[in-house]
Symmetry: C2
Subunit: 351 residues, 2 copies
């Protein structure tokens, strides 16, 4: 595989913006979505940024997503809100939900905002991070956009890899940002193994007889495994109820596989909690205490085979620094796809 | 091992109450704690109910826990509160936190209450369930009272099995109650294996060289493993920051091993979120939707080796029905210990 070419965050954001506007997305909405998508890429969430652009455009063109959504707050209390995304790009609904949660939490201390009639919105960590700039903790959960996980002991794929992300502010250290699927491997990792012709490790998937499945070409004959067996199943279920069912969004049987179907409304649900540290205690003292936990953890002796102890969010942070310095890598196959997209929309190519 | 004797929930609660009052715990506090401890036992959390009574009394007598705590709310906003438990029995601080969170959530939609200067408070599910009676969702996290988990790749035991519990109301079905440690096995399960002279399955623990540890007699030469490797480590870290550090409670190096040390103040931290379903949507419609998810899951065909699909909380519910009908089982060794305790306090024996 040839070396990827690198583009600046600003160039990537402009390209996405131009494509969305050419597809008749209102400029204000295109500005929000392109900023968040490029932000996902700069953080190294490369399966969730510009990689998804062609799929979003395809869904819009197929009539599965609304170009000009009117976002509405359908329920509201002092510390909660429910945003209806009107089937627009998911970034719009989630971005609005996070803004509302942060605004409310600034007075109430804690606030929770959910979405319904949203769509795929990129990586979980993107939204959990947003409250950090106001010295708030962010907690985000989402219903995944395709079911690859059966309940523990079963074979009906009723659950997705429903992720959680939590971001905690720090003083001198890199903020802690946990961003994880409730399965051992995300489905994207299986696809990557298939592309590379590599076997999967045991523990990622099982087949319909419950036997380990290690050939990624046979992925559709099996299921992802949840972390900790029944525990990960329980977490996927709970995150789905909180981010989906509670919001009147799709969960379980109602989830549309957005890779296989670009026409049906997904009614995706997400949720965010913003927690104002200031409401609990002195912000500086809290950040110093978190720094101390990080230092203690990093100082732990290591097991054989480990060079160092990592904190959640460290890898993304170092990728970000590298991407800011050298540009965001865009692999050949993706670049080719983006050229085709640009040409079809009459937009200037990325490179 | 002989068959356990069975006692009614009422008899167990009275016995605990009498012991606590004999130990000079104020009657109102003893009433709250004994009710919650017997409730833990009736739900089948048999490592977290009357099993802990002698340890609590020992800690009080050793000066490690305050007989007559004055609970105070040290921070408060519309949707949050922080309760200082004044180093009393943990049940008192957590019970107060849950009551406050539920009261606030009834108007604000969602509320979060934390504890500091609390103590061991029994099983996580006990508190997550409380909001159910008001058609609220309960989310509970706690810092465990002994560190048995190192960060991923490390050997310093800086983390506990920090649990989460989430309870979701239903209409006709048993409420969903997830109650789980962030490790593959809770430490209590290791102790049970040691008592029975049985080996542990691979995957529960590793030794200091990173090799599987299956002899429970050698448990102090190794560590528990987190669910999903780095993911479970991340969850244990996050739950500790949210339930501990945010509240000014102990986390990481500051955690006291309450099994080894009955004198030092543990400064235990817990947190609860109460979510009023009514704020989001019609309560009946929500409960019906959750019931439908449960029915769909239970209807899944099973993998070889599985008879049926279970939902989180189902096992506890069937144990509860059995315990209500036949009494709560008390094994011989525990009963003997309770007799010694009763005699030392001048209280009537349980049986």
């Amino acid at each position: 595989m040839s070396e990827p070419q690198r583009v600046s965050q600003a160039a990537l954001q402009s390209f996405i913006y131009n494509c969305l506007v050419a597809e008749d997305i209102p400029p204000d909405d295109a500005a929000v979505v392109s900023r968040l998508m490029a932000e996902a890429d700069v953080n190294g969430s490369d399966g969730h940024g510009v990689f998804r652009l062609a799929q979003y455009i395809e869904r819009i063109q197929a009539g599965g997503m609304n170009r000009r959504p009117q976002l509405t707050v359908v329920s509201e209390r002092a510390a909660m809100a429910l945003v209806d995304g009107d089937n627009g790009l998911g970034h719009l609904a989630v971005n609005r939900a996070v803004e509302i949660a942060m605004e409310k939490a600034a007075t109430t201390g804690v606030a929770w905002a959910g979405t319904r009639m949203s769509n795929h919105a990129g990586p979980a960590g993107l939204y959990a991070r947003m409250p950090l700039r106001k010295d708030m903790i962010g907690i985000y959960m989402a219903v995944g956009n395709a079911n690859h996980l059966p309940p523990w002991g079963g074979t009906d794929m009723l659950l997705s890899t429903n992720p959680i992300a939590v971001a905690v502010p720090t003083k001198s250290e890199t903020p802690i940002v946990l961003d994880m699927a409730t399965t051992v491997a995300a489905y994207g990792k299986v696809k990557t193994k298939a592309q590379r012709g590599e076997p999967m490790p045991e523990g990622w998937m099982i087949d319909r007889m419950g036997q380990p499945l290690t050939d990624p070409q046979r992925a559709d004959e099996g299921f992802l495994l949840p972390i900790g067996g029944p525990k990960g199943y329980g977490l996927a279920l709970i995150f789905g109820l909180l981010a989906g069912t509670l919001n009147g969004a799709a969960f379980g049987k109602a989830v549309i596989d957005f890779n296989a179907d670009s026409k049906s409304t997904t009614n995706t649900g997400q949720m965010i909690i913003a927690v104002s540290v200031e409401a609990f205690c002195d912000v500086d003292a809290f950040k110093e205490a978190v720094d101390q936990v990080i230092v203690d953890i990093r100082s732990s002796p290591t097991l054989p085979g480990f060079d160092s102890i990592r904190l959640p969010g460290e890898r993304a942070h170092s990728v970000r620094l590298d991407n800011e310095a050298r540009g965001i890598p865009v692999h050949g196959a993706l670049l080719e796809k983006l050229h085709v997209l640009a040409d079809s929309l009459g937009v200037e190519r990325l490179l």
